[in-house]
């Protein structure tokens, strides 16, 4: 059995080159003053690195120990033998602790050509381009909005901070819920995240409070965005409601090649949480995410998951239905183009009576891309009256692409209604013919059909995301963007 990450590294392909001139200078949403401003970026993973991360952040002893134990778990867990091809990740050649600006391209010119052209095509104004380049969500024109949202949240007692700050300012609340849904040794990459996590969101919604506006990272303080090892924790007290949105449809270039985030959500009785993600990482990124929610009596959890970018994404949003009449829903859309593998899916575990769930997965492969749906429906003994439905549809746009569906349905109860359906197809010739005969070009017609295909999911997205997603579909169909 493998016990050391060093055993796992293959002949390292340099997938994470060191930037020539790393700028350690100031930036807008920086760290707290207490942290030393002199820091040497180091490559590689070790207990020493973990110790340094924790000291830099001035963390309490228990968190430091948690990180060290997590690193031990990471070392002794074998790599998963299923899913995507993780053979080229070189754990020793990665920076595990860098601040935001050091990781992103230093300027517009440094961005890869295809990304620059996407931004141009998407009609993104100059100011926005800067934002995307920096990777930090500075809302130049949204200062007013920003402040209004923050005032409103504070008045209602909602806590919305980055995870590091939350640990400092709300330690008891934090510790009570931390790693209760996803323990450090849950899987290899959760263990990695648990050891080197930095950034992410912490949200606590008091009992009965309904947060109407979708919360996004830029509304929190210290919005170091799109971190490599983000750790998000959301707690919705009984009867509360909140919607969190992360990510961006525009392609984000990251020189980091390994992203391993963890999102834990606790939905207490009769509360409702929706978590929407759209990721479009550049094609050098391995995006391995563990996302799981625990839903209690009468609670509802919804995951909306959009996977557009990255070289390989392995992500299976999960809901544990632990109280009667809890409901879990996962809507997932995945696009895979040349050189991409989206290995995504969903997991629903029914561990209480009268619980219900629904999974809808839509995937599209083109140019030799590969989408895989990997899902699990598990009905435990004692979970009577479960009703669940899974629907996975895949579109293959050409002869080179690939789609897989790996559903597991494991039922240990009698009083259960469980259905699963999947289809794989290409765009119908008659559909295309009809649209073209109405004057649309082939790519316009294809784009329209694809948009219709993903409509059940895109209609659940916040307006601006849906619009951007539709525009992106058009671009992709034109083949103008990779």
């Amino acid at each position: 059995m493998v016990t050391d990450a060093r055993d796992l590294t293959q002949t390292p392909e340099r997938i994470n080159p060191v930037p020539e001139n790393v700028d350690l200078g100031g930036y807008k949403f920086g760290w707290h003053d207490k942290i030393s401003s002199v820091f040497e970026p180091k490559r590689g993973l070790s207990h020493a690195v973990v110790e340094e991360i924790s000291r830099m952040k001035n963390e309490p002893e228990w968190m430091r120990e948690f990180r060290h134990r997590s690193l031990d778990y990471f070392y002794r867990r074998p790599m998963p033998s299923w899913g995507g091809d993780l053979g080229k990740i070189d754990f020793d050649n990665i920076f595990y602790f860098l601040r935001a600006t050091e990781k992103q391209a230093g300027s517009w010119d440094e961005l890869p050509a295809d990304i620059k052209s996407t931004y141009d095509r998407l009609g993104i104004p100059e100011a926005e381009k800067q934002r995307l380049v920096a990777g930090v969500a500075a809302q130049y024109e949204s200062e007013v909005v920003y402040h209004k949202v923050r005032e409103d949240l504070e008045a209602r007692g909602v806590i919305f901070l980055d995870t590091d700050t939350a640990l400092r300012e709300h330690e008891d609340l934090f510790r009570e819920h931390w790693a209760t849904v996803i323990p450090a040794n849950d899987n290899k990459f959760a263990a990695l995240n648990s050891a080197v996590w930095s950034g992410g969101s912490f949200i606590w919604v008091p009992e009965g409070v309904d947060v109407e506006i979708p919360l996004q990272a830029y509304f929190r303080i210290n919005a170091q965005n799109m971190g490599q090892f983000e750790r998000t924790l959301i707690i919705a007290e009984p009867g509360s409601r909140v919607h969190y949105v992360e990510g961006c449809t525009a392609p984000i270039y990251s020189s980091d090649s390994l992203h391993s985030a963890v999102v834990e959500i606790i939905v207490k009785p009769h509360a409702k949480v929706r978590y929407t993600t759209i990721q479009n990482w550049s094609n050098n990124v391995y995006n391995l995410v563990t996302k799981r929610a625990a839903a209690y009596e009468g609670a509802t959890m919804e995951w909306i998951d959009g996977n557009i970018g990255s070289k390989l994404t392995m992500k299976y949003p999960a809901v544990l239905l632990l109280g009667p009449r809890a409901h879990g829903e996962i809507l997932s859309v995945a696009f895979a183009g040349d050189g991409q593998h989206q290995d995504a899916g969903a997991k629903l575990t029914f561990a209480a009576p009268e619980t219900t769930g629904q999974i809808v997965s839509k995937s599209i492969s083109r140019d030799g891309g590969r989408t895989s749906y990997r899902g699990l429906i598990k009905v435990e003994e004692g979970a009577e009256g479960v009703k669940a439905n899974v629907r996975c549809d895949a579109l293959l746009l050409d002869e080179e692409s690939r789609s897989d569906t790996y559903p597991y349905n494991d039922v240990k109860e009698e009083d259960v209604t469980l259905g699963h359906e999947a289809t794989v197809s290409k765009i119908g010739d008659d559909q295309l013919f009809y649209l073209r005969s109405r004057g649309l070009s082939e790519s316009e017609a294809t784009a329209m059909i694809v948009r219709g295909f993903i409509e059940p999911i895109s209609k659940e997205l916040p307006m601006e995301y849906a619009l951007e997603l539709n525009r992106l579909v058009s671009l992709q169909m034109e083949g103008a963007v990779g």
């Binding site: 059995m1 778990y73 002794r76 867990r77 323990p183 040794n185 849950d186 899987n187 544990l320 435990e380």
Partner: protein
Amino acid sequence: MPFVRLASLPDLEVNQGHRVELSDDGEVAVALVCTGDAVYAVEDRCSHEDYPLSEGWVEDHQLECALHGSRFDLTTGHPDVPPALKPVQVFPVQVEGEDVLVDLPDDWAKLAAEGSGPI
């Protein structure tokens, strides 16, 4: 419920699970764990999925299942975190000299005897 000799002390490494199979298809097996101060015996099968606990890590008198990480208390057999929800069986152990004797349920003891000793 008789005490059956399942191993000798030198066979056991500290803080490492040692598997003793009682049936030839591996379905009935015991995991022995020596923690330095005591020897424990639990059924060698995670209550979550059919995986031998003897392959896992031992720490703080807990045996962790290598597959999904649930940790079982060696004295009570109870798991601390999901995905395992049910406890595993634990058996009293007596060490006499170098012999590790485990108090097995009758049918398990019978298997051990039938197979002319554990495999």
